[in-house]
């Protein structure tokens, strides 16, 4: 096997990696706020909130992210909405991630014993105060492992955004490979970059989890990375 490599590829790949980071960070935060809204609606809201939240979550988890991106980028123009690639990507990834994060938060909210809410209400806190001061701080901590998982997932799946013309890492890889015809080698480097980034990120998130740990606020067997 004859493998060729060139240092010239790196600047372009570096640019692409930056865009990958942008995509990931913006989407995870969009998903975060959306997820909290949806999970609170599902657990504490009225029947309508419950139905809307459940429906949303089922739809976005039941269909591929690629299809969602295609609907946003190729489909919407037919009704006159033209989204630029980056915007379409973060909207799609954000909406998608919101559905998953909603489920993680729902799970962690429900894992907190009912006694916490009872004690808060017994003190005279309103439901909103209780949610804000007692339930959410615990639920968010409990959800950290799932959230870390989600962050890494988004980083990897941002790669499909190249198909809607977003200049992230995959896109740059394709660009270089179509110029040099060295598809295998180029993507080997791309793969390596993803691997290194993921490993570093996992390490960082693990330390974060450790730092924010509170004794007695247990995290029960979530999927590790």
């Amino acid at each position: 096997m004859n493998l060729v490599f060139s240092w010239d590829w790196l600047p372009l790949l570096g640019k692409g990696t930056l865009v990958t980071f942008e995509l990931t960070v913006i989407s995870i935060f969009m998903g975060f706020f959306l997820g909290i809204l949806l999970s609170l609606g599902r657990v504490y809201g009225n029947r309508l909130a419950y139905l809307v939240s459940s429906f949303y979550v089922q739809v976005f988890r039941g269909t591929p992210m690629l299809t969602q991106l295609f609907i946003l980028y190729f489909g919407l123009p037919t009704i006159g909405i033209m989204l630029p690639p980056f915007l379409a990507a973060i909207i799609g990834m954000g909406l998608n991630s919101g559905a998953y994060q909603a489920e993680y938060f729902r799970g962690s909210i429900q894992a907190i014993k009912g006694g916490q809410m009872m004690a808060a209400r017994a003190l005279g806190m309103s439901q909103w105060q209780a949610i804000r001061r007692i339930i959410l701080p615990q639920a968010l901590r409990l959800a950290i492992p799932s959230w870390s998982n989600e962050l890494i997932y988004l980083l990897k799946y941002s790669s499909i955004a190249y198909m809607i013309q977003v200049p992230e890492l995959m896109f740059q890889g394709k660009r270089i490979s179509s110029k040099t015809f060295l598809t295998f080698e180029v993507f080997l480097v791309v793969a390596l970059i993803y691997l290194v980034v993921v490993m570093i990120l996992s390490r960082l998130l693990g330390t974060l989890e450790h730092k924010v740990k509170i004794p007695g606020l247990g995290v029960k067997g979530r999927a590790s990375l």
Partner: protein, 229 residues
Amino acid sequence: MDRLMVVWNAFPALLGGLAITVELALAFLGLGLALGILLALSRIYGNRFLASIASAFEQVFRGIPAIVFLFLFYFGSAQIGLNLSAFSAAILAMGLRSSAYQSQIFRGAIQSISSGQMMAARALGMNLYKAARHIILPQALRFSIAPWTNEYAGVLKDTSLCYAIGVTEIMRQGRYIVARTFGNSLLIYILIAIIYFILVYAGNRFFSFLEARLRIPGFETKGERTERI
């Protein structure tokens, strides 16, 4: 309405794509299952060398985006003289990838079985193989159903990525139809989304049913796993 006519005419092609989608999913899951069990057993019961190879394999296959693997296997196969079709390259790439995730599922399930079970089995005189086969695996399989449902859904949705290397699964069929009929992209892609949704939903229902059927009274099955793995 001629929009409806478009949908009607598109159907056969879409169904053809659907068939490929389902084939791909089954192949990925099948390969993933076989290899996944092996990896899980290697990590739990294997010697240090075996376990670390399995661990490294998992780290690599979970640390790189699926689409990169599709490209690597498809274009890389040419490098070593093995001219794989897009379809075969996809199965190899995604099957191996699924095995890394399924290994995690089985490992979790096996480890959640109390060590007393293995102890009792060995005390009876069973060797490792017998103990695994008759005592550990039957229980582990039950614990695996919930998270495996998650993997099923994930794999099914990931078949959409094979679009990128030219496999004519449902997304690519959709693209062809859109190209042929000019400007019905929203309709077609929404239709495709609905088809995926039905498949995922049906699968989830099936596995719930299976789990309920196999439930042993007094035996807690792990709750619904909702994470992407």
